[in-house]
Symmetry: C2
Subunit: 481 residues, 2 copies
């Protein structure tokens, strides 16, 4: 038997160990709760246990797996733990894991249709399923990209191309015919938007951050005024990024009003629904995407709140032609005679494209659309529960509305108004809760106020976990007194 495809391992050894790994994964997912969710490792704890130089000779897989358990695992912060409530919680669901196992073994690069017709056609199909689930019009076409950071970069590259200034050919620098480009987003937009502006050569100073209302939503009137003033001052407004589910508070920008402005001003509207977008799968939450049918591009991340293992971000656009115009570049060695097929390499930055459609297909089929909706609905219900506990406690205050599954709150006892002191209290509460290993929370600042966030998004998170966090927080408050 030729061992080579297995790379030194015997095929039957791979089969045996592969099944042990499946046992490990099954037990891990059943018992993730038994690990401290937030790794207790100190800097360099992991690295100093590992040899600084690579081994010349092969090591046994048993040894490697033993080291994985002994050294690596204690340095893992458990994103699949039901007490993971930081940032945006996510899940590697079982159907997604099975699909990733197959995709990894196939190791397809879906750059061209011919390099695996199934990869391209399943990506077309499954992104269209998602489009239907979100209630977006049929004019939107989807492409799977690794992360929303890159999806938004791709969308904004297309937006820049759409201003028809031969930017692709001539670039931006040293040109007398080209005014400074201007990009708009709210002060609560994700940092990836500003990063995209840096990469694209727009510059951070050319990102105009529009103020928000009391509920952290972009002020549409301020947007209109800013565009008008910028035009007067010789800027070239080229894109607005609105957000459905901002990172700090999950606020929803007024997309319809923003779309009105973009339409009137002929500016590309990109909507970042990386987290919040998938909530539109829940019929009674469909409204969160109101107005998005008029967006030029829209991104949502199944790897955030649709139980898909990292990474999987879906970018939709009504202007595939513009996207391709911005990105398509076909050297001789990638030319084909396949005719009118879709080569996804033309849609973005990356030439190497993993077969990510497979996991999304497995997940949508295994959960069913109603099954996905019921999980998202439950997460939102849990958030409402938590919010009600906060609201009912006179020593706490809620700092933002709860349109999705994230609650922003802080400890704020009567009589204390010093922000520094409140920050000290709340950061201490959070760090102490995180140190218990039972829950992992993160923070933000809202109007200068230090804010604890609880973000519910893991499949395994149930009412008992959320209740336990509230208990842990209250325990820490007692210690402060």
């Amino acid at each position: 038997m030729d061992k080579e495809p297995f790379g030194g391992m015997d095929p039957e050894e791979f089969r045996k160990i592969g099944k042990e790994v499946v046992d490990w994964i099954t037990d891990y997912l059943k018992n993730a709760e038994k690990y401290p969710v937030f790794s207790q490792a100190k800097p360099d704890d992991i690295k100093r246990q590992l040899p600084a130089a690579p081994p010349a000779s092969p090591e046994k897989m048993e040894t490697i797996l033993a080291d994985f358990n002994r050294i690596i695992l204690p340095g893992i912060t458990h994103w699949n733990h039901p007490g993971f409530l930081a940032y945006f919680a996510n899940t590697a669901s079982a159907p997604g894991i099975l699909a990733e196992m197959l995709a990894t073994a196939l190791n397809v690069n879906g750059m061209l249709w011919r390099t695996s017709p199934s990869a391209t056609e399943l990506e077309e199909l499954v992104t269209d399923w998602l489009r239907q689930m979100l209630g977006l019009p049929a004019e939107f076409h989807g492409v799977i990209i690794d992360t929303a950071s890159v999806s938004s970069l791709v969308a904004l590259t297309a937006a820049r191309e759409a201003v028809h200034k031969r930017v692709r050919e001539q670039g931006l620098s040293g040109r007398t015919d080209l005014p400074r480009l201007r990009l708009y987003c709210s002060e609560h937009a994700h940092s990836s938007i500003e990063k995209a502006a840096i990469i694209l050569g727009i510059g951070q100073e050319s990102v105009c951050k529009i103020s928000s209302d009391a509920e952290f939503r972009m002020n549409a009137k301020a947007l209109a005024a800013a565009i008008e003033e910028d035009r007067r001052n010789g800027w070239l407004p080229f894109a607005v990024v609105a957000t459905v589910g901002t990172t700090s508070t999950t606020s929803i920008d007024p997309i319809s009003a923003i779309a009105d402005i973009c339409q009137k001003e002929n500016i590309w509207l990109h909507v970042d629904g990386a987290y919040g977008g998938t909530a539109a799968i829940v019929p009674e939450m469909r409204y969160v995407l109101d107005g998005c049918d008029r967006a030029d591009s829209f991104v949502t991340n199944p790897h955030k709140w649709l139980f898909t293992p990292m990474d999987c971000s879906v970018l939709f656009t009504q202007h595939v032609g513009t996207l391709k115009q911005a990105f398509s570049l076909v050297p001789e060695y990638l030319k084909t005679t396949d005719g009118e097929v879709n080569n996804y390499m033309d849609w973005g930055v990356q030439l190497g494209r993993r077969f990510r459609a497979l996991k999304l297909w497995f997940i949508i089929r295994s959960f069913g659309v109603d099954g996905l909706a019921s999980r998202l609905r439950e997460h939102c219900r849990l958030a409402q529960e938590f919010a009600s506990w906060v609201d009912a406690d006179k020593d706490f205050e809620r700092l933002a509305p709860v349109p999705f599954s994230v609650v922003c709150f802080r400890y704020h006892p009567n009589g204390i108004s010093d922000e520094t002191k409140l920050e000290q209290f709340n950061s201490q509460i959070m760090e102490q809760v995180n140190a218990t290993g039972e829950a992992f929370l993160s923070h933000t600042k809202l109007n200068g106020r230090y804010t604890i966030r609880i973000a519910i998004g893991n499949l395994a998170t149930a009412e008992k976990h959320v209740a336990r966090v509230w208990e842990l927080v209250k325990n820490e408050v007692v210690k402060l007194k």
Copy 2:
């Protein structure tokens, strides 16, 4: 038992099916050769067999897997087939698959040190192992990025930052103080370099493509002359991209001579060794990176020729400070109190970062450095063998040197000099060989000549496969006569 972490599947059902999937993978890797390497599917063959709308209710995993086998598999081009000899062949080796299974289950996002210390520290360690294996100096620090397309984009963003023109803050457009930026690469550089120039706002016309010598290597004198002329004409040269292992012929640019020029001119040197770089692991091939110790950045892709499942590209740089200066952007919700730790989100575009270090660690340990080197050495030997058959046959000609594991050749019988006719012959030979399902080849053009490429890079490819390709090619030639 709480089923929720498994997303509707029963844990024991997941365990059982997971093991069936391991059986499937084992049998697949053992028998990949029995599938047609190049999918015989016609456009829409896959999509039309699948329902256009997503299911409302859950479907059984057995049904989904049956559809995977019945519908998806026939539309797969088998990158793990030993007859896959197109583009750059790659491999999802067994140790890499095991690691990906674990990484998928953990579903870690290594954006911050604290979001999994092991992910960050193992990435530091394993990229340093790779650095040692390649013989790069200790001044190089590594980061794992999804693809070389993004790695080069990141490197060139840092290069742009290094010219100190406040590009990050002010961007490129509408500025009177900023000359047009100029980027240099050979005419054989990968298309991703031009794509990066488009994205960065440099523009395609600002990519100066330096001519090559008879062996497809960048002409260093022409580079020096171009820079000098551009400076005279008011351009601002900011980066040179040299290649170790160009895509068409795997030629190696004269890195030392180019480094001399870059040093003298104070221009960032980025080396694209996405394919060829890993060959430096072979002691007697260490020379392929001669001069790369003086590069400012260097990229190589373990997912190309180091048996690592997609995706895994390693970017090295001697200027981590500049990289961070270009990219670091830390909103409040990502601020930590962890002190002097490395947060890899500061090193590039993406915030979401899969735990890719794990597979590289498994692979290096399971193969051992010598084991990896012996496989690469064998691939190069096979290429030399194939080249010798081409050279010995008067009806064929070899169109480029063979420094690595790729052979460029064509059928060129005596008396035929019409390039159109030769292209017709050779494209027909290639398409017919691909249609057999036994081998998958791709093509390029060299000095206007249609060229067939055979790229050896899959672990399972042995002498018999290479010999069979030669037989298939010769069979097609007989049919032409």
